[in-house]
Subunit: 359 residues, 2 copies
């Protein structure tokens, strides 16, 4: 039986989760719920897809009616009906906790929250690579933010090299999402929050690693950019080992020539996927440098899409009997998540159809 999923919030994350749920053979998208019609709803209508729109409440229903858009019931009613197994709540930060009080706690529904919520909203802050089994069968889990999700994948990869003694990461955050205007700060780089930034705390909620993170905001919209220094417990680590660990880990790609910037990657993934989504953490090969027991690496984390695979795994952890590695395989195969190396020098390793020879 398919897991019936409702997405609440239809912004940057919600619209992507909704599409990803539809790509899973073991899930059914019951609908999407959003307080007000917005440009994303308009795009959904234009795409002509069969996705029921669920009104948030009475006021919301009225707003949709004024725009001439049909809705199918209200959130509260739908949850009471027992026709939803899991809600993925992709509301703006803090609104998820409010939704929990107002709607979720009164029904038996299980909920995946996002990293914009405080950790206390859920029983587990989640990573399929570290604590999938802890999350199994719970009511509330939280997928940490894009930066934390990216760090957890890199830590998961580097643990293949050996025990990690210390991690330090300078996070150069994008200022805001591409379509936002509020918060735009052109021509400045600003410290974002205190030291350590909240990312270190979130990582430690998932895996006990000695980590410090500092975040600064740069005037870009495309992706976050991390500069990491990692000290391994043992010495004698080689650059080849580190690259091998990164390029054999799930949801991480090592990118070489001609990729060295967030914009290079954004343009490449525009060719490959709707919305130009980059589900993978992309490690810049030229940045990987190893000296004794310490490694330096720089990688790019796409703020809009990197958490989507983890959200899908979180749904499975809550409401299916699928084991963690099988869930990761199913998610990555359905979404076409890449791993390994991408570069012109490694082009021969890429899948290539038989070239039709011209006469």
């Amino acid at each position: 039986m398919k897991t019936r999923v409702l997405v609440v919030g239809y912004g940057t994350i919600g619209k992507r989760v909704a599409d990803a749920v539809r790509a899973q053979s073991d899930m059914e998208l019951v609908g999407v719920c959003t307080p007000r019609p917005n440009a994303n709803v308009l795009a959904l209508l234009r795409r002509g897809e069969e996705v029921p729109l669920v009104a948030y409440d009475e006021e919301s229903e009225e707003a949709f009616r004024r725009a001439g858009i049909s809705t199918s019931g209200r959130l509260g009613e739908l949850l009471s009906s027992g026709e939803v197994d899991v809600v993925v709540d992709a509301s703006p930060g803090g609104a998820g906790a409010e939704n929990k009080r107002r709607f979720y706690s009164q029904s038996g529904v299980r909920v995946v929250f996002q990293g914009g919520e405080e950790p206390g909203v859920a029983e587990v802050t989640f990573s399929p690579f570290f604590n999938y089994d802890v999350a199994r069968g719970r009511r509330y889990v939280r997928v940490p933010s894009c930066n934390t999700t990216g760090i957890l994948r890199v830590v998961n990869a580097l643990l293949r090299v050996g025990p990690v003694e210390e991690v330090f990461i300078a996070i150069v955050r994008r200022a805001h999402d591409p379509a936002d205007r509020k918060g735009a700060r052109l021509n400045t780089v600003a410290l974002d929050g205190g030291v350590p930034s909240h990312h270190a705390r979130d990582v430690k909620l998932v895996v006990p690693v000695n980590i410090t993170t500092v975040a600064v905001v740069a005037p870009t919209t495309l992706s976050h950019f991390h500069v990491a220094r990692v000290r391994f417990a043992g010495g004698g680590v080689t650059r080849e080992e580190v690259i091998e660990a990164l390029s054999s880990a799930p949801r991480v790609v090592v990118v070489g020539e001609p990729f060295s910037a967030t914009a290079d990657l954004a343009e490449f993934f525009r060719e490959l996927r709707p919305r130009g989504d980059m589900y993978e953490v992309a490690v810049l090969e030229q940045s990987v440098s190893v000296d004794g027991s310490s490694a330096v690496l720089a990688y790019v984390v796409h703020q809009e899409s990197v958490v989507i695979p983890e959200n899908i795994d979180a749904v499975r952890a809550l409401a299916s009997g699928v084991p963690p590695w099988e869930s990761v395989r199913m998610t990555d195969s359905s979404l076409g998540v890449l791993s390994g190396r991408i570069s012109l020098t490694a082009a021969r390793a890429a899948p290539r159809p038989e070239v039709k020879v011209l006469a």
Copy 2:
């Protein structure tokens, strides 16, 4: 019999033209030709599509071989073989003229050049709305640049209101394409060239209209933004007439609530099309203002994709018996080019599948 098209140059325009050619029922993409393997070629390989790669020359063939990528012959040979009816040359500005000297003039092939070439490279600077029949059966035509193409569509729309006496347009250009780094000038707005800018000249090559254009460069990457003032020959023009003319013209959309910025439109079209392409000129409804015989309007022109439909029409003008309006219809239907109005208040007019009512 299908028109056999080769795309030379596989950058921003070339990759889009190649995909658009493949969407035409009366055209066949013979291949794409590019001097060197680049990230776009890598993406093409990853997409696993059956598009033959043609080497530019011997040196080019060697560069592909080093990257382990198979090619199918060289440009010169292929053109001599008579297996190409039309080349769409999407090389960087100026390289098209060089290709003409080196390759095209020695074969019988017909060629569509881009606006980055000087007008003299071709017999006709082209618009399907004004001079398709003049271009018919010629050897060389030139599709003018994105800004000029956008202006021509708006002029074509406004001529439905009545004779146009004068047009003045301030063009706020994007600084560079999303993946470029050369030419990036953050935190400055600069005059671009003289007054009038070359766009006025290019418009006049197509249609005899009294037009002045001034271009400035702003530090953005998403789209050009035009602010236009148009004086009609007769008085008594109404705002409703102007909006009606714009929203009933081909390849123009009038966008209302919640669209007022280039980024709003970029995000919306990311939902609708690969690469987030916006083939349409998007007029901001809230900008349209009419006073007696003068109208003001602001509109957005997507530099990467707006010329794609006109390139397809140019191929038909050169090498088919299809009449202009039929070509526009075929192009727009195959690419899903929109017209009319897009806004939340007009959402009821949008196509909407039957909503599945939840029990």
